[in-house]
Subunit: 188 residues, 2 copies
C-alpha cells in the first residue's frame, strides 16, 4: 500500500511545471512527472485526471479568492462595488512573490492551444460563478451577468499586464486602473 | 468526377441541423447528412472538416456583420460608439425571420458540451477581432480589449434573450437595452 504523503500534490504540480517549462508540455509524460517526485504513475493519477490538470489544480482556491471577498461586502452595495471587492480578493491570491511562478505557468499555457482552451474554460466558470453570487444577493438579470462578465474581463486584462516583463505594480493596483478605464469607456 | 452544385453547402447545413435536432448530434453520422441531400460522404467532407462544422460554417459572415459596420463609423467616434455600431450591424445578420432557425440551432448546441465549447471559441474570436479593429482605428490598450469584450458580452446576453420563448423584440432593440444597462452599471 502506498502511504499518502502530505504535499505530494504540490510537489507533483511543481515538477510538472518544471518539466513543461523546460521540455515542453507535449514532450512530458505523466510517468516522468511522477518519477521526478519519486512516486508511481498510479499515484500521479490519484491526484490528477491527466497531465493538463497538474497546471489547473488550484481552480477552486482561485474561484474562492473572488467569492469569499463578496461575502464581506455590505448588503446595499452596487453590483460594480461587489465586483471591485471580488477583484481585490483575487489580488491577494496573486501576491508579488508569486509573479515569477505565474509568468512561468503562463508561458507554458501560451505555448499550447489545449491549455489555452482549458484556461478559457476556467474564466467561463469564474464569470458564471460571479453572476450566481450576484443573483444570490438580489441583483437582477441582465445586470448580474453583465457585472460578472465585466469583472472577469477586468481580471484577465489586469492579469496579462501584471505578468509583463518589467511590470512592478501589484495586481490590485492594475485591477483598479483597468476598472477605472472601463468606467471612463462606458461613460463616454 | 462529382460536379459542384451551387447550394450544396447550404443544403448540407440544413440537413445537418434537421438531423441533429430530431435524432441528436451524437446519433447523427456524416454519411446520413450526405444521404439526406443525395450526395456522397466524400462530398460532405469537401465542404466541412467534420459534422460539428456544419453548424458553424457561417462564422466568417457572422464576424463580418460586426466588422463591416465599423468601417462606416466616423473616425472621431468613441470606442463605445464604434461597438454600438458593430452590434447594430450584427443585428442585421439576425432578422426576425431567422429567429426560429436560430432557436433550433441553439437547442442543439445547448445539448452538447463540445458544441458549447466551439460556440465559446467563436465568441473568443469575435472579441479578438473587434479589439484588433479598434486598435487599427487608433484606440489604445486596454480600452480596445475592454470595449471589444464588453461588446461581445452585450451581444451574447442580448442573443440569449432574443431566443427566449415569447420574446418579440428585435435583436437590435434588445442590444440597445443591454448596452444601456452596462452604462448604468458602470456609472453607479
Amino acid at each position: 500500500m502506498v502511504r499518502w504523503q502530505p504535499g505530494t500534490s504540490e510537489r507533483l504540480q511543481a515538477a510538472a511545471l518544471e518539466l513543461f517549462a523546460t521540455r515542453g508540455f507535449e514532450q512530458t509524460t505523466t510517468a516522468e512527472i511522477a518519477a521526478a517526485v519519486g512516486v508511481t504513475e498510479r499515484t500521479f493519477f490519484r491526484h490528477f485526471s491527466d497531465k493538463r490538470e497538474a497546471l489547473f489544480d488550484n481552480g477552486d482556491a482561485f474561484l474562492h479568492s473572488f467569492l469569499d471577498a463578496i461575502v464581506a461586502v455590505p448588503a446595499d452595495a452596487a453590483p460594480l462595488q461587489i465586483m471591485a471587492a471580488a477583484l481585490q480578493g483575487a489580488a491577494t491570491w496573486f501576491p508579488d512573490e508569486r509573479r515569477a511562478h505565474s509568468r512561468r505557468r503562463q508561458a507554458v499555457i501560451d505555448s499550447n492551444p489545449a491549455l489555452q482552451e482549458r484556461e478559457q474554460h476556467k474564466f467561463a466558470v469564474l464569470a458564471t460563478s460571479l453572476a450566481e453570487a450576484l443573483r444570490a444577493r438580489g441583483v437582477p438579470e441582465p445586470a448580474a451577468t453583465l457585472a460578472a462578465q465585466s469583472a472577469t474581463t477586468v481580471f484577465t486584462i489586469a492579469f496579462v499586464q501584471w505578468l509583463q516583463d518589467g511590470e512592478e505594480r501589484s495586481l490590485a493596483e492594475i485591477e483598479q486602473r483597468v476598472l477605472a478605464e472601463l468606467r471612463d469607456l462606458t461613460a463616454a
